[in-house]
Amino acid sequence: MATTLYQQRSQNAWRTAFLMAMFLAIVLAIGYGVSWYYQSPSLLYIAMGIAVVMNVWAFWFSDKQVLSMTGAKPATREEHFDLYTVTENMAIAAGLPMPKLYVIEDPAPNAFATGRDEKHAVVAATTGLLAMLDRQELEGVIAHELSHIQNRDMLVMTVAVVLAGFLAILADMFLRMSFSGGDRDSNRGGLFMILAIVGIILAPIAAQLIQLAISRRREFLADASGALLTRYPEGLARALQKISGYDAPMQRTSHATAHLFIANPYGKSAMNFVNGLFATHPPVEKRVQALLGTGV
């Protein structure tokens, strides 16, 4: 069992790296194409600058922003003994400092981790989660969240979001300038123009899809690393099954924070094919299979 988890972990890390590299290549190629078309590299720099500033800001203050968004309050050792001590234990096993711990008043079982690095890490769980899970299952969930922190998933996802955002801004600029009819050389034909427009419309969608694929990859990775922390994959598997059995969305969710949660905060009904492609999380059945080493 242990060896397959180790393999899974390195496999997942490689796949993420591959996705990121592909992503970067596509974004740079498109950006280069656009600036070449307009003969103005400044366009590329401006778009890149806007995307970077916006998202680095979000990344740097993620620990404070997300908490005000979802309405959480700090957890204490006396009031939430199991949550607090389990988090302490998993932090010891992971070699991480104890993260700030919060409880969210919400009957839907869920949990998330955020923060720009391990010293600013925040872990939050809903009251629904605490009521539903026993100590071992909670251990699995917390180990999953701490793995997100240890794997630097906030950073990975921020880079992915920066790249996707950059592309969206670029596409937007391109379309505006095309329709307002900026000065163009006559040697670039109409066919190229049409192709470019189609490409520039599809590119942000493709970027979004890759970004989400990375998010799903990171979930598998956090599952595998979390199982290595607890040495008890059944705990997380049971927790995931229980969580997926709860078929109602969280009261307060936003797309901006969806990728942070342990399970899709929009509830199970959101899982049809299109949503599968656009999902931040892989289906629970697949995650359980991966954890228990059954199936593929």
């Binding site: 234990n89 010891i92 096993a93 070699g95 040495r231 008890y232």
Partner: protein, 189 residues
């Protein structure tokens, strides 16, 4: 002249590589040592809780002297294991203590008043949590030792490790100890 420079260049590269590898070994070994002392922190927490537990239980079941003696001896033995002992020796002493504690909680089953005592319940929870923490710190120790051992065993680190006499460290055997941790000290009510 070019040959000389080439040879010097190659030597410099090798020198830097050896220095980096050496520092890497030092860092990994120190991490493992730190992880080892972190286990002691958790063990000490357990030693500190035990007298409280015994006093509480004594108030209700004073005549179970043999069990108290057992725990005290096991505790003293575990505390007496020196810093130079191997993980296996540590594990053995700690397992004895865990076993002795289990017998105390088994005794408590026969005393309903004790089982309802808030202090006792709190101590029981704390001890169970401390067991978890000991396991967690051992797992972390194993991770750091595994990183060191893998670096020592794999090429080309094995050559440099051999040169500077870096040796592999012992792992805690987890399977058995973990199994014990999954069956909590607490007895069903």
């Amino acid at each position: 002249m070019t040959t000389l420079y080439t040879v010097l260049g190659v030597l410099a590269v090798i020198g830097v590589a050896v220095a980096l590898a050496y520092n890497g070994f030092i860092a990994k070994r120190n991490q493992a040592k730190e992880a080892w002392s972190d286990i002691d922190v958790q063990l000490k927490r357990r030693y500190d809780l035990i007298p409280n537990l015994i006093n509480t239980v004594k108030g209700y079941a004073a005549h179970e002297a043999a069990a108290f003696e057992n725990v005290s001896n096991a505790r003293a033995a575990a505390m007496g294991v020196g810093a130079t002992a191997t993980p296996a020796q540590h594990a053995e002493a700690e397992n004895m203590l865990t076993g002795a504690l289990k017998s105390i909680f088994a005794i408590a089953e026969a005393y309903p008043d004790l089982k309802a005592n808030q202090n006792f319940l709190q101590l029981q929870k704390e001890l169970a949590d401390t067991e978890d923490k000991i396991q967690a710190s051992r797992r972390f120790y194993n991770q750091t030792v595994m990183a060191l051992n893998t670096a020592i065993e794999s090429f080309p680190g094995n050559i440099i490790a051999g040169m500077f006499k870096f040796v592999q460290m012992d792992l805690f055997e987890l399977s058995e100890a973990d199994q014990a941790a999954k069956e909590p000290v607490a007895v069903s009510f």
